[in-house]
Amino acid sequence: MMAEATPPVPEPGENMGKPLPRYEARAKVTGEPLYADDLQLPNPAIALFVTSGIARGRILQIDTAAADALPGVLKIYTHLNAPRREVTKHYTEGGYVSDSAVPLGGPDIVNDGQIVAVVVAEDFATARDAAHRIAIRYEERSPSATFGSAGAATIQPDALAAKSKKAGDFAGAYAAAPVKIDAEYSTPTMHHNPIELFSTAAAWNGERLTVHEPSQFVWQLKNGVASALGIDPENVEVRDPFVGGAFGSKGMMTQRSPLIAAIARDLRRPIRNVVLRDQGFTLATYRAETRHRLQLGATRDGKLTALSHEGWEVTSRQDDYSVAGIEATTEMYACPNIASKVSLVKADRNTPGFMRSPPETPYMYALEAAMDEMAAALAMDPVEFRRINDTKVSPVTGAPYTSRSLMECYDRAAATFGWNRRKAEPMATREGDWLIGYGCATACYPTSMMAATARAILTPSGRVEIQIAAHDVGTGAYTAMQQIAARELGVDPRMVSVRMGDTAYPPGPVAGGSMTTASAGSAVKLVCDKLKQRLGGALPSGRELEQAFDRLGTRRIEEYAEWTPPGQGKEAVQALYKGQMGGGGGAEGGKPKPLMYAFGAEFAEVRIHRLTREIRVPRLTGAFAGGHIVNPRTARSQYLGGMIWGLGQALLEQTELDELRGRYINDNLAEYLVAVNADVPEVDIIMVPEVDSQVNPLGVKGIGELANVGTAAAIANAVYNATGKRIRDLPVTMDKLLDVPA
């Protein structure tokens, strides 16, 4: 029996708010100018990047004469005449940029697709034409592209070594374990590919600079541009009311922003730059390829006794970016003996960065695939194997989980999915020419929070305006802030307007780490509390509200609030105003910090054609628990989109690398495959009610990056159940199944 898919507007369960339609729904379906490059600037000139055709070497000569001669070309910038910028550090080193290599900083080429020229012209067609007329001669050197390339150095920086988690005696316990798994896994390079292209528009008015750019952190961009241009951040305004998808790619400032702003200053004219789709593969960050070795030991009755997770990640020569997902994988299941280690491999690439569930996507894939292998080795049901090893405390520190509804999620999803029809033996289920397999895996995402500030303005009409420079990347943040404010003030949500994505408003958190609802929402709750207190503890309505305004002798009541997560102090707000992320909550009273995670369980059915090995996923079922759910409609969409992301990661997505040349091959949306409508089956979403009063005053966990964790493992595990073959290197593609007996 196939379960009926949950409707797009679900009935709210316990501890869930109302499924209101999105705050900006009408504007989005009518094509209103909401996104950065939709915003108009007076008489802009168009800038177009020209990027390097080699990954490593040096520019010997760059000939722009033919391009300069084209009517409508205003100026062409190369390393020979580039506008000056201050060198700033990578954001993990206290700076602002996502890649510390400075474009047009000199003749050296350090990675594929590096900016080597900027054409500025009256219009895009002229700029593109001119770009094609620029001739460059390079001295080319052999690049180190990835794992195993000559010259790629493996390192373990101290900061990464400090993240290694250990418990008990792994080596001894593993040697003694009666049942063992030792397997290697890999995940490919992936690119976020939001449909909104990266762009920067910059206009100067005297000393003041306005920037329109898709950004998950406008206050970071404001401070970052100021730092790179050596100007006062007070003089920089960033506007980006809505983000057309980001997934991490618009999180931290790239070198493009100050470059475009500097060109606008040099030419004394507003500049509009849109990064072409292929250029976006190297002019923003990406999810680097990873490798893993998992060693599990267990008793015959299914208790884990030893767990080791070793990971390797690629990064650039210039920056040591890592995701180090061992933090999650070592604390997922009860196990007394644990070892873990992550190493970086330095290659001639641009610096990677965060992409939706940066650590969990690759590391949980490896762990959950290994868990399935162990369950098979034990001849045990994979759900029961996880139940036996479920834990309410960290096996590393002993700190408790504030709440953990993992097994409730498994039980609900298993029932809806029909898991009891699964045959444990591979290749046992067939329908005509199709081999059918079932698989499951755990999803998890840590609850993180950042400081946030907010302003609320109340007028005698009873209308409230909430101002917070948080960001809506499609998550439903406007709607969540509207609902939180309306609930706190006891007013109709239609009386609440929300302003975000603009540095004219007080800073909110980065739209990353699934932190917005918990962090920005807590600031909104606090500022609404303060507003109520100004009016004697509750918001009067109608004439009484008018009278209250008369008594106060004003037509406008304004409040401002700063919220800091537990364990963070005033300095977190100061960091926020400087566009820095501050940090997670610290230890409380010397005790280890409690673990805060949202959980889910995901089930997949795969069908593999006996002859062609075509892989289809006719259905996915996921059950998720994320504390208080502000809006079940937008929350369900987050889960839905996440699981489809997971499907893409299992079967489709990979940026292919020419290992000889260190260049991406499929840098476009025709060849970098993401799921399209025809790929997507029935997706059943179950929202498991959960109450967690410890995480924050709203009881909200982050959910935007939860559902795409685990999906790839669930699908790969189902492929094993269908075919008897373990595909340990993602994505699972037809060619990897050719040796399955027909």
């Binding site: 797009p8 339609p21 999105r22 729904a25 009408r26 989005k28 379906v29 009518t30 094509g31 100018p33 909401l34 996104y35 490059d37 939709d38 108009q40 177009l48 990047f49 990027t51 390097s52 055709g53 080699i54 004469a65 033919a66 084209l70 697709g113 002229t126 593109r128 034409d129 094609h132 007329r133 620029i134 001739a135 460059i136 001669r137 390079y138 080319e140 449909i195 292209l197 809505f242 057309g244 849109v274 789709r277 292929d278 250029q279 990347v473 499609g474 409609r633 969409s637 987050q638 839905l640 989109g641 476009n668 949306l669 025709a670 993401v674 399209v676 409508n677 790929d679 997507v680 029935e682």
Partner: protein
């Protein structure tokens, strides 16, 4: 990617020392410069075009290289139509031309003489949303909303083409529009809600 490949092109640019490499075509800095005499031949041409845009007659003197997408997002000031790839791969720029769906990034303004163009801004009748727009709201058929104008224009055409009879058919005929947020099942639900009302 040179504009006119029949032009005589100097091969001198290719000659260099053993260690010298020259990149391939495209904006990855192509190797050759067209000779100076070719610049004039490749200089922009302009064409006078008259067409209907969202019910209004428009006349434009357009650079013959100008795409409908860049015209909408630039001089015509209708940025509802989105640029997602500029290569006909994502569907974000889908508009209607003479009632059927077309990609604005693949359409040159110079070729629009006498044609009728409808964009997302022209779909509603005043304050009254088109049934497909309402269905997208009712089914939460978008998240970030960036691909949404293209999805809605495709969805309207999909129904009019008679390609919305089953879920499978809707999925197939809506697959030219990528939604990276992956609202696909909700888009299918929206098309089903609106298909009887168009």
């Amino acid at each position: 990617m040179t504009q006119n490949t029949s032009l005589p092109i100097s091969r001198r640019g290719f000659i260099g020392g053993g260690a010298v490499a020259i990149s391939a075509a495209g904006l990855n800095a192509r190797a050759e410069a067209a000779p100076a005499s070719a610049v004039d031949q490749n200089a922009p041409h302009r064409a006078n075009v008259r067409f209907t845009l969202n019910g209004r007659s428009r006349e434009l003197t357009a650079d013959t290289r100008l795409t409908l997408l860049d015209a909408l997002r630039g001089p015509l000031a209708l940025p509802g139509t989105k640029k997602g790839c500029d290569h006909g791969q994502c569907g974000a720029c889908t508009v209607h031309i003479d009632g059927s769906r077309h990609l604005a990034c693949f359409t040159l303004v110079a070729g629009l003489e006498g044609r009728e163009v409808t964009t997302i801004e022209g779909l509603a009748e005043g304050d009254k949303l088109h049934p497909m727009q309402q269905a997208f709201i009712d089914n939460d058929a978008f998240q970030c909303g960036y691909c949404t104008p293209g999805q809605i224009m495709s969805a309207v055409a999909c129904v009019k083409e008679g390609h919305a009879r089953t879920d499978t058919e809707i999925r197939e005929y809506m697959s030219g529009n990528i939604c990276r947020c992956s609202a696909y099942p909700n888009i299918v639900a929206a098309v089903k809600q609106a298909r009887g009302k168009i």
